[in-house]
């Protein structure tokens, strides 16, 4: 009887040992079969992301923007004149998009709509001094500068401004010109009229360039005056 119980105990023990060893043996095999797959998937995704970032970075590095007045358009090649320097822009039928900037909005146009003397901004990858344009924007060209008022003509609403690089600009102050003056105490901008301008005041100005101006005469888009009192207080 005792022998039977002993045998039974040994068989039970062996059974438990056997089943537990199978379980132990199986568990790692499950882990071994799923864990590497997940890791590999993650690695691939990471590598994909890294490649995408690198490509985007390289594209950004090679991406340049140039601007100028359209000198000529010959098929898919456009020449831009930027203060005497001529740059070539290549259009790619499948890649290049063109827009006309209208204030804060834009309207898509065809590259064939771009005309001579338009002011164009082209962005794309540069190779051999030719920029293959991803985007071409047709916009207005602005000149931003500052100097001292040397002359005021109250009859023609015109001022002469001498800049630090010794350029003299003749600015027409139109009714549409935004005229502001800095309050020397608060440094806030205040709207003013033409009568407030004085010779000797410092003026910061923005004008629109069309490329056809003569004698540095421009219609002012906006002016910002720093009164001479600021400098002698």
């Amino acid at each position: 009887m005792i022998k039977n119980i002993k045998n039974c105990f040994i068989v039970t023990l062996l059974y438990f040992l056997l089943t537990s060893s199978i379980a132990v043996a199986q568990t790692p095999s499950i882990e071994a079969s799923t864990s590497p797959t997940v890791t590999v998937d993650k690695d691939i995704q990471l590598l994909k992301d890294k490649i995408a970032n690198k490509v985007s970075e390289i594209r950004k590095q090679n991406n340049k923007a140039i601007s100028g007045f359209v000198q000529s358009i010959d098929g898919s090649i456009m020449k831009l004149d930027s203060s005497g320097e001529v740059n070539q822009v290549k259009f790619d039928d499948t890649l290049t998009k063109a827009f006309r900037v209208l204030g804060t909005t834009k309207k898509e146009i065809k590259t064939s709509d771009i005309k001579k003397n338009d002011y164009a901004i082209a962005s794309g990858v540069v190779a051999d001094n030719v920029i293959t344009a991803n985007v071409v924007l047709i916009d207005e060209n602005f000149l931003v500068d500052s100097g001292k008022i040397t002359e005021i003509n109250k009859d023609s609403y015109n001022i002469k401004v001498l800049t630090s690089d010794k350029n003299t600009y003749s600015l027409d102050i139109e009714t549409s010109t935004k005229q502001h003056m800095i309050n020397i105490k608060t440094l806030l901008e205040e709207t003013i009229g033409f009568s407030k301008l004085k010779e000797g005041d410092t003026v910061h100005f923005v004008v629109k360039k069309t490329g056809s101006e003569k004698d540095n005469n421009y219609s002012a888009v906006k002016i910002l005056i720093i009164p001479q009192e600021y400098f002698i207080k």
Binding site: S67, T104, S146, L187, I226
Partner: protein, 144 residues
């Protein structure tokens, strides 16, 4: 001439000479004390570190000239002389700030396309010339 008369004349001349020298010295002192020095007051005299060559020059660390952005607001960072007036102007924005720290970090909006930006620094000491920088940056919408 009597001996007494000669002595009296001699003493009179001696006294007159002493008085003349005294008056001359005294008048010089009075002249010096009443004269004003024609020179700027001490507080207005430039300290050696304010000479033209040593003034903190305008440096722009951001953005780089001809940089392309895909967002409409950027930061203009740099250094300029302390307590100067900084004027930043573009076709769409005028920004006037007092540079109290020496370093500046200012938010600035961009228009779609090309943005011509002029930065002028007017030092507090008016004898120094304004410093200028001009940059062009581009805002090309990423959707384009």
């Amino acid at each position: 001439m009597k001996k007494e008369t000669i002595i009296a004349i001699f003493l009179g001349l001696l006294f007159g000479g002493v008085v003349a020298v005294f008056i001359s010295l005294k008048s010089k002192d009075i002249e010096l004390s009443t004269n004003k020095v024609i020179a700027p007051p001490k507080e207005n005299v430039l300290s050696p570190n304010l000479t033209g060559t040593e003034i903190q020059s305008l440096e722009l660390s951001e953005p780089a000239d001809n940089a392309i952005f895909d967002k409409s607001i950027i930061r203009i960072k740099g250094t300029a002389v302390k307590d100067s007036l900084i004027v930043i102007q573009s076709p769409i924005k005028d920004l006037v700030v007092k540079n109290t720290q020496g370093k500046f970090d200012l938010e600035f909006p961009l228009a779609l396309g090309e943005n011509s930006i002029k930065i002028v620094v007017y030092p507090k000491e008016k004898q120094f010339k304004p410093q200028e920088k001009f940059i062009k940056v581009y805002f090309i919408d990423s959707e384009l």
